[in-house]
Symmetry: C2
Subunit: 357 residues, 2 copies
């Protein structure tokens, strides 16, 4: 069996040393004499894990004062509802940028709790580009965008200047590039790309925006309750947070977000160059909106796709099959994916081209 | 360092062989060549994990036709709100049995969504007994009870005959004893006691009770959405479900719930006998309501408690300190705790008595 190169869209590759340390902790964690899976969340040892994980996110993303970092469950999908529940009164309006299936789900959930103004949408073009020609009205409660569209391989290269609270779903590109947290009032991200294993969700929120809606909120969906409980209002997903900590430590040791961004640009350039050069392949989205996390491409002759995929699989590449709504291939290249894995894929593309000449 | 005997209230002990298999899967899972932590939930391999876990719960608990088993996130605490959101209209009334802090939190959350009738409460007696003198009015939408009260060490030895839908939080004793699922319309349980690691929640629901409220429910809190999505409407907590499967397999191999119940009775008898025999100790709750999962006890001379705890810790017993609202000690004895661990604790109690004579 060849080494695997995991191009999966998520849950996705994490660093090998994280797997090794996590496996050891499942057998016996530190000096506790217990498995991390049987540790009470109320032990000082685990309280340290939460505190360190929060601090690592604050350090890595340079989170300014006045913001809280919390861990909750339910993924970005729960945030789609939790967000408007906490920020939007029935008679208030939020603006949404509709750039993909997840952005669209987010705005649909917001409609349950208030008014939604879809400021721009590329839905009619199968979300193959990021709309840029829109204004953000200053009477909105907040503006919501999705920084990276996992399914379509598009990414906001920069964020609009918003006259109102900007809220962002960064599930698939958080920690992959430098962002100015102060530009946002709330950032959320399902953990299972660049943070850690599935089952954990990170929310970074400016405290001053909370407590302004009139509706009653069930405790578990109230950001304030999780802030007051230090992410331990109830039993948190212990192992998911622990592995996130290991991964964040790794990230810091590698040089932080700045270094990740450099590597991600290098990896993306390598693959996009080959897609553009190779006569058999083409990208699926607007060039200026290309994502550095998820690279979607198809073959000019769709009949060859099955054979190419087999060759890639034989070379150890997994998770390459494109999402059904785009087809072809999707190479997800999160932080932990090494350049050498991208090189393997590029080599297969070159070999396949030679084979078909 | 002596072997550890984990009496923690949860997250709690799981079988050693589960830790070993889980650790191996973190390094490399089955024939995938990947870590379980980097596996997509959309792979056939992981779809099998979900299917097998559901089937194991159905088999082990003899779940009748017409019921669905789903995995969600957020623990019992999220269920406290999700339950009335799905079952109780604003003008309808649910009955709650108030037997502890968690039961009390459940009824408080229900008040956000409808009317609550507290049928009986032992709150004024610090929840030291289970109220039995109450009727369940037949015009209630549902009746809610908590089968085992982790903090106070009380347990419903049998369930009332309910003229309306009976709903039960079984977080801390699910799979520890035989129950007749057909007596309930909905059962929920945070995983982190007898099911698996934290981060997963099991809901067993009679399909016919759903779809009868008029309010709009955010997708992630709609039971029907999770049923239709086969517990994968969004990315599930992959590892928590995987380890739950390993634990459920172990449970089945040991002889199932019937055998667990036999062992749990044996363990509880051993410790309660010593508490009642030993002149230094006494139980904290009504004898007829004693839990077989969480055994709460104090010392007649509270000044000796610190010294006893040190001696127990030296013998490898961890997680014994009682909850602050009861004090003293709490020995949680979930399915995976062996009789030999209980014997170690009993031996320490005997030794301590001899020392103080």
């Amino acid at each position: 069996m060849p080494n695997k190169h995991n191009f999966g869209a998520g849950p996705c590759i994490l660093p090998q040393e994280v797997f090794e340390e996590a496996a050891q902790a499942v057998l016996s964690w530190g000096n506790t004499g217990l498995s991390i899976l049987e540790i009470s969340h109320r032990t000082p040892e685990f309280e340290s894990v939460v505190a360190e994980s929060v601090q690592l996110i604050k350090d890595l993303m340079q989170v300014p004062d006045g913001y809280e970092v919390i861990f909750v469950q339910g993924g970005a999908s729960l945030q789609f509802g939790m967000l408007p529940m906490n920020l939007l009164n029935d008679n208030e309006t939020a603006g949404y940028l509709d750039t993909g299936v997840w952005a669209n789900k987010a705005l649909k959930e917001a409609k349950l709790f208030g008014q939604v103004n879809v400021l721009a949408s590329s839905k009619d073009a199968n979300y193959s580009f990021i709309p840029k020609d829109f204004d953000i009205p200053s009477d909105l409660k907040y503006f919501h965008c999705t920084s990276n569209n996992t399914i379509y391989g598009t990414q906001l290269q920069s964020f609009p200047k918003s006259p109102v609270s900007m809220v962002c779903d960064m599930s698939s590109d958080i920690l992959s590039r430098e962002v100015n947290v102060a530009d946002f009032d709330l950032i959320y991200a399902g953990a299972q790309k660049n943070i850690g294993p599935a089952g954990n969700t990170v929310v970074i929120v400016k405290s001053s925006i909370l407590g302004k809606v009139t509706r009653k909120i069930t405790s578990m969906l109230d950001y304030q309750i999780h802030i007051e409980g230090g992410s331990m209002y109830n039993t948190p997903p212990v192992f998911s947070i622990y592995v996130a900590m290991l991964n964040l430590r790794w990230l810091k040791k590698q040089g932080g977000v700045k270094e990740m961004e450099r590597r991600n640009i290098e990896k993306a350039n390598l693959l996009y160059s080959e897609i553009d050069r190779n006569s058999l392949f083409k990208g699926t989205c607007a060039v200026e909106d290309r994502s550095k996390m998820n690279i979607c491409f198809v073959m000019n002759d769709a009949n060859l796709e099955k054979e190419f995929l087999q060759m890639a699989v034989a070379a150890g590449c997994v998770g390459l099959k494109g999402h059904r709504s785009v087809g072809g291939f999707r190479a997800s290249m999160y932080n932990a994916l090494p350049l050498s894995s991208v090189q393997v894929l590029v080599d297969v593309m070159k070999q396949f081209e030679a084979l078909k000449k």
